[in-house]
């Protein structure tokens, strides 16, 4: 891969190929499908946060006219314990299966325990009300401190803490303990000239995708099923649904619709197996959609956390020691994002001595799911806030403090491996030089900076490139397009083949038409699926060279490919005209058959991503309201294939991070019932809350991708939490530790200082 490449198509801000359908309402999202004879399905959800299910009586509901099928846990096969690898914590398929449909116990308010399929939504609702359930209500555990205390009521009385040095004899709500160590932190703290510490809490938040979960499932009498659904990973929907229902993946076809946001929350399954079971019983297709209320109560939010960070440094800013104690709520089943959070927290820095202790904790709340850089926003919020306090104590510019300790190529990452080419220092330097960093602030205004990091994933992707008879190109891939990736795939195919972008079409194909693909997530699509598209394009070029060589009567290794044409290599004695892709395609039948290129891979070496964010805020001393005046996101993208969509990821992640910092939180009552299960009271940023978001894309190419691509989607959500909190600290002089920094909390802190 070359350093400074002159690209013809890469980097152009082209209109995305699926754009017209999306601005005219033609594009089909999860709830937009219908099939003849379709029934409507809905889930009955637990009114208790913790209870044993003694008896479910569906007789009255089953007798209603228009009701075609009812399912409960008894209809679902028993699924043995098996680790779900990947994902954000060691989840278990047995837990996934009981999360989809409770068996003898319900473990959070909203937990599914039955479902009905009927001719209309009105009949479904009436039938659900007619189902009688006998519960033995149990005491719920609803917060980290209670859950971790000795003698706490147990969410799962058969769960023993994994990862302890001594095997535990008593069950616990702590599902796992994990430690990361380097050197000797006590020695490091002893060497320090300044030590700063803080304990921070972040609330449960939701990914907030505007499109609720939705699917249509149909299964025939031969056991062959088709599922249309909005998902980030249709191959995972297939494999997970088959695990839960004990079906053969060969018999289940999953067709991904367009997806209205996921951010990690649509990398698992909720409705799909239920819809399949209802369809099986009813003999008809079944459509299921979640209401917004259900999305909040019963999908997978992001972990609430408690993080304590202690940092020791010399007077010149050199860090000598770091200690982090992290507790993450997993919800009612084990597997929070504690591990990645623990691995990210000190990743931007060279730290000679550290200890990171992480706890995965069960509470009677919905099982958490991934949310954009899972675990990192919470843990790095704590570290970046303490670093800010340290900079103040050292009277050092916070960017300089980070520069002093910044990792670069060759550094050993806190999570273990050596870093290859990375762009953290470049982001820091860019921030220092950025005009926004020098702007004057007014009364009650403050500025905060923070760093962000995410590993980014590689994993498996497949792609095919088909050349149509007129030389136009169809790219067939299997990565649901959540943010404009079709455009990037087309740009990469264009660049490789040397044909205009306008000649390329991209299809996101279903599980029976595309080769296997891992999920659209982990910031992996432009990197890994892009790599597959590039390789499939190169396969086409190789075939074209052969066809041209055969046509000209020379050897294939005497042919070059340049600007979309086959030409003889310089020095080759052949008096022939170049052959364009269109000409070769037109003749394909005569020279060997259709032109079909393919590639499949397990992508190696995604480039880790770093960012620096700057937030300027004004705090209203009378109301505690925090207004974001200015926000600057600087991030290393490796290579921006389509700069507008890279900027879009940076701006969207910033908005989510700011929402997390300033106003979003799940509010539960004492019985574990979510109080704000709607957009009115789960307050996400709206257009009037935010300014324009300035972006600067740094490009330190990732040597493992032909064009230098680094994943960009997840890093943007990490730094805004601390950037905003540090700005509030700067504006008010007060360090408020618990998020969100909503008006009542900020006001209370301001009043406390007055009093």
């Amino acid at each position: 891969m070359s350093e400074a490449q002159d690209f013809k198509y890469i980097g152009r801000r082209v209109v995305r190929p699926d754009g017209v359908d999306k601005v005219t309402g033609r594009a089909n999202f999860g709830a937009d499908f219908a099939l003849p004879g379709m029934l409507y399905g809905k889930v009955l959800r637990s009114p208790h946060a913790h209870a044993r299910v003694k008896k479910i009586d569906v007789s009255a509901a089953a007798a209603m006219e228009g009701v075609y099928a009812i399912v409960t846990g008894a209809d679902f096969p028993k699924v043995g314990s098996e680790e779900i690898t990947g994902g954000e914590g060691a989840g278990d398929f047995a837990d996934l299966a009981t999360n989809v449909m409770a068996r003898d116990k319900v473990v959070y308010h909203g937990h599914a325990l039955a479902a009905v399929a009927a001719k209309s939504n009105a009949i479904v609702d009436a039938a659900l009300s007619a189902i009688k359930v006998e519960y033995e209500v149990l005491k719920p555990v609803l917060d980290l401190d209670t859950a971790m205390a000795d003698g706490a009521p147990l969410v799962n009385d058969k769960l023993f803490t994994a990862g302890l040095k001594e095997k535990p004899t008593r069950p616990s709500n702590v599902a796992a303990y994990m430690e990361f160590k380097r050197g000797d932190i006590d020695k490091g703290f002893a060497e320090a000239e300044v030590v700063v510490e803080g304990t921070f809490r972040t609330p449960t938040v939701h990914q907030g995708y505007i499109e609720p979960h939705a699917c249509v499932a149909t299964i025939n009498q031969g056991g062959q099923a088709t599922i249309w659904c909005c998902t980030q990973g249709h191959f995972d929907v297939r494999s997970m649904t088959c695990k839960v229902l004990n079906l053969n993946v060969a018999d289940v076809r999953v067709i991904p619709s367009e997806i209205g946001g996921g951010f990690g929350g649509k990398t698992t399954i909720y409705l799909e197996p239920v819809a399949v079971m209802l369809s099986k019983k009813a003999g008809r297709p079944v459509k299921m959609t979640m209401t917004r209320d259900e999305v909040f109560r019963a999908s997978g939010p992001a972990s609430a956390t408690k993080c304590t960070v202690k940092i020791g440094a010399k007077k010149d800013g050199t860090i000598t020691s770091m200690h982090a104690w992290l507790a993450y709520e997993a919800g009612a089943y084990k597997g929070s994002s504690m591990a990645p959070g623990a691995m990210c927290i000190f990743a931007p820095y060279n730290v000679p001595n550290f200890l990171i202790q992480g706890y995965d904790v069960l509470v009677n709340k919905p099982k958490v799911a991934a949310y954009r850089a899972p675990g990192a926003p919470q843990s790095m919020y704590a570290c970046e806030s303490v670093l800010d306090d340290l900079a103040r104590q050292l009277k050092m510019d916070p960017l300089d403090l980070r520069l002093k300790n910044a990792v670069s190529e060759g550094s050993v990452a806190a999570y273990g491996p050596k870093f290859n080419a990375i762009g953290f220092k470049q982001c820091l330097e860019a921030a220092k030089k950025h005009p926004n960093y020098k702007l004057k602030l007014g009364p009650n205004e403050g500025r905060g900076i923070a760093a962000g990091f995410w590993f980014n994933a590689g994993m498996q992707s497949s792609a095919e490139v088909h050349i149509n008879e007129n030389g136009t190109v169809t790219v067939v891939e299997g990565s649901p397009d959540i943010g404009g990736s079709r455009a990037s795939m087309a740009l990469m195919a264009s660049e490789e083949l040397g044909v205009p972008y306008e000649n390329v079409r991209v299809l996101v194909a279903d599980t029976e038409s595309a080769g296997y693909n891992n999920v659209t997530g982990g910031s992996r699509v432009t990197f890994a699926t892009g790599m597959a598209v590039i390789q499939a394009s190169r396969d086409i070029i190789a075939q074209c060279k052969q066809r041209a060589a055969a046509t000209w009567g020379i050897e294939a290794d005497m042919v070059d490919w340049k600007d979309g044409q086959a030409i003889p290599k310089p020095g080759v004695n052949a008096d022939v005209k170049p052959l364009t892709l269109a000409q070769i395609a037109a003749n394909a039948g005569r020279t060997g058959g259709p032109l079909l290129g393919r590639a499949s891979l397990n992508a190696r070496g995604p480039g880790p991503g770093f960012s620096i964010n700057m937030a300027d805020v004004r705090v209203d001393p009378e109301t505690g309201k925090v207004d974001v005046l200015r926000f600057t996101a600087i991030q290393d993208a490796g290579r921006a294939i389509h700069p507008s969509y890279v900027e879009g990821q940076m701006q969207g992640g910033a908005a989510q991070g700011l929402g997390w910092a300033l106003n979003e939180e799940y509010v539960y009552d004492a019985n574990g019932v979510l109080q704000n299960a709607g957009f009115l009271d789960y307050r996400m940023p709206v257009a009037s809350d935010l300014p324009m978001i300035d972006t600067q894309i740094i490009e330190v190419p990732n040597p493992n991708h032909p064009y230098g691509v680094r994943g960009v989607g997840e890093v943007p959500i990490v730094a805004p939490l601390a950037a905003a909190a540090n700005a509030v600290r700067d504006a008010t002089g007060i360090r408020i530790h618990d998020l969100p920094l909503s008006p009542p909390r900020v006001l209370a802190a301001l009043e406390a200082r007055k009093g």
Binding site: V20, V23, F29, Q207, T289, G653, L680, M692
Partner: protein
């Protein structure tokens, strides 16, 4: 309860349908009339994904009963483009990459149309507050605002 027969005009076309009295306009648009361009994000009027114009006025179709449309004119996303040509707002959304997943886009385009029909030269602040009823989780709003500003320029004849 027996169904109600409703006669209305949608996107300039005379339409009639049968619906339950308690069905929302959103449900009827999507399920009965198969006009699925208008989206459901919350069904409680908080997200704007279901935005339509009722006699030119911006409303959440999830907060409107279908029976209320009788004798009125509705404009949905399907009626924004003029025949074969995209509306300038739609073009500018594409040029500015003002959509990522696209689920909020129909609602924003309808809302932006209502704004610019009412106020052809809005300030950035006016645009942000007018569109505050439309939630977007992907873009952070930056490129949406720029697209609307650019569309306003075009509609005023100041740019292409």
């Amino acid at each position: 309860m027996s169904k109600v027969h409703v006669e209305t005009r949608i996107n300039g076309e005379r339409m009639e349908f049968l619906c339950e009295p308690q069905q929302s306009m959103l449900d009827v648009l999507r399920d009965n009339l198969r006009l699925t361009g208008t989206k459901e994000g919350c069904a409680t009027g908080d997200c704007g994904a279901c935005s339509v114009l009722l006699d030119g006025r911006l409303v959440c179709s999830c907060l409107m009963l279908a029976v209320e449309s009788g004798g009125h004119e509705l404009t949905t996303i399907e009626g924004v483009a003029r025949g074969d040509e995209l509306h300038p707002i739609q073009r500018k959304f594409l040029e500015h990459a003002a959509l990522q997943c696209g689920i909020c886009t129909p609602g924003f385009i309808v809302a932006a149309k209502a704004l610019l029909d009412e106020n052809p030269n809005p300030t950035e602040e006016e645009i942000r507050f007018y569109l505050a009823g439309n939630l977007c989780r992907c873009t952070g709003y930056d490129k949406i605002i720029r697209a609307v500003q650019d569309a306003a320029k075009t509609l005023r004849g100041e740019a292409a």
